[in-house]
């Protein structure tokens, strides 16, 4: 019997039950996140139905290069996070910490590229709501597309920032040897959150960047 006994909270009959509860709780949280973004996806779907041409025209302002690079960055980061969890289960904690650090740096890269993109939009006056001041296109619905773009990618970027912070803590704890092949629930749950943020981007990318191609 190892120190894992100390991780079992009193209200649980067994450590397995505790782990199951933790996972279920995380999936319930992920469900709420899906509903949060779901409302915005619904708004996008509705306004795209009403203004299909304006949406296509407005999407020409998107920087497809940055969007595509960001997609690859996030997918690769997800691979590293998944590898980190597998390595911890195989008692390779230092390597796992390295993978988490790489994933965190990729996340920061994503945010940096997003910042560059936003600054380009600001320079070109491709801004949400009443600040939309471009000469082309000036169609009903064009500024709506840009507003939805900033709303959804901005909310995603906030989630990304939190996820980077979570990864930083997990990388530190993994490197410090706080996780074992048996006890690594925080790492598992944090990894799930990172993958959720990636899944959201997987849908945002074609919605905003690939319309006009």
């Amino acid at each position: 019997m190892s120190g894992e006994a100390s991780y079992r909270a009193e209200q649980f009959g067994s450590y397995a039950a505790q782990k199951h509860a933790a996972r279920l709780g995380m999936w319930i949280f992920i469900g709420t996140e899906i509903l949060l973004f779901g409302g915005l996806f619904c708004a996008y779907a509705m306004y795209r139905t009403v203004y299909p041409d304006a949406f296509v025209a407005a999407s020409r302002h998107m920087d497809v290069t940055i969007g595509t690079v960001n997609t690859y960055v996030l997918l690769v980061s997800s691979v590293f996070v998944a590898l980190a969890l597998a390595l911890v289960r195989r008692e390779r904690e230092l390597l796992a910490a390295g993978c988490l650090t790489v994933a965190m740096l990729l996340g920061l890269t994503f945010l940096a590229l997003k910042g560059v993109e936003y600054s380009e939009h600001a320079r070109d006056h491709v801004l949400p709501g009443v600040w939309y001041a471009v000469d082309s296109p000036r169609l009903p619905g064009s500024s709506l597309f840009i507003t939805l773009y900033f709303l959804m990618t901005g909310l995603h970027a906030i989630h990304m920032t939190v996820a980077v912070g979570v990864l930083a803590v997990l990388a530190f704890r993994t490197g410090a040897g706080q996780f074992t092949p048996t006890y690594h629930a925080p790492l598992e749950l944090g990894a799930m959150y990172w993958h959720l943020v990636d899944v959201i981007w997987v849908f945002l990318y074609p919605m905003f960047y690939l319309l006009a191609r």
Binding site: S2, F12, I30, V50, L75, S78, R138
Partner: protein
């Protein structure tokens, strides 16, 4: 022997490293395919194809990376219900808007015409300086 709750049961291993790398490669291939296919002239199929690629990538991430394929039924139920209600919401809203009598939809789709004198230009920059009764604005 009675079950000792402090004894941790055999740890499940989850997906192997080989599978994770394979899924990662598949994701990168799908991302590349998404980008390349988006440049084709698919007409009305553009959106469904893009959505299919996104669902494929998301499914791999959720089932393998997030290990939903390895977790119990409760987690799958929660996830499935969330997705179901979001799809229900989007479906009915789009159905509502798409089947309305067109004049009741706020300024409907305009042709992508721009520049001076185009319908879009008139809409965006009203030139009238007097009201309907001839008074100055």
């Amino acid at each position: 022997m009675a079950h000792d709750p402090n004894v941790v049961e055999a740890e499940e291993t989850g997906p192997g490293i080989g599978l994770l790398l394979l899924v990662g490669l598949a994701l990168l291939i799908l991302a590349t395919a998404t980008f390349l296919v988006s440049g084709l002239h698919l007409g009305a199929w553009h959106t469904p194809v893009a959505f299919a690629f996104a669902v494929a990538k998301a499914s791999l991430i959720i089932l393998i990376f997030m290990e939903l394929g390895y977790h119990g039924g409760g987690s799958r139920f929660v996830f499935g219900i969330s997705v179901f209600f979001v799809l229900l919401l989007i479906s009915f809203v789009v159905l509502d808007v798409d089947t309305r009598f067109r004049p009741t939809v706020p300024p409907g789709p305009h042709p992508v015409l721009e520049g001076k004198g185009s319908p879009a230009d008139v809409y965006q920059t009203p030139t009238q300086t007097t009201g309907p009764r001839g008074q100055e604005r």
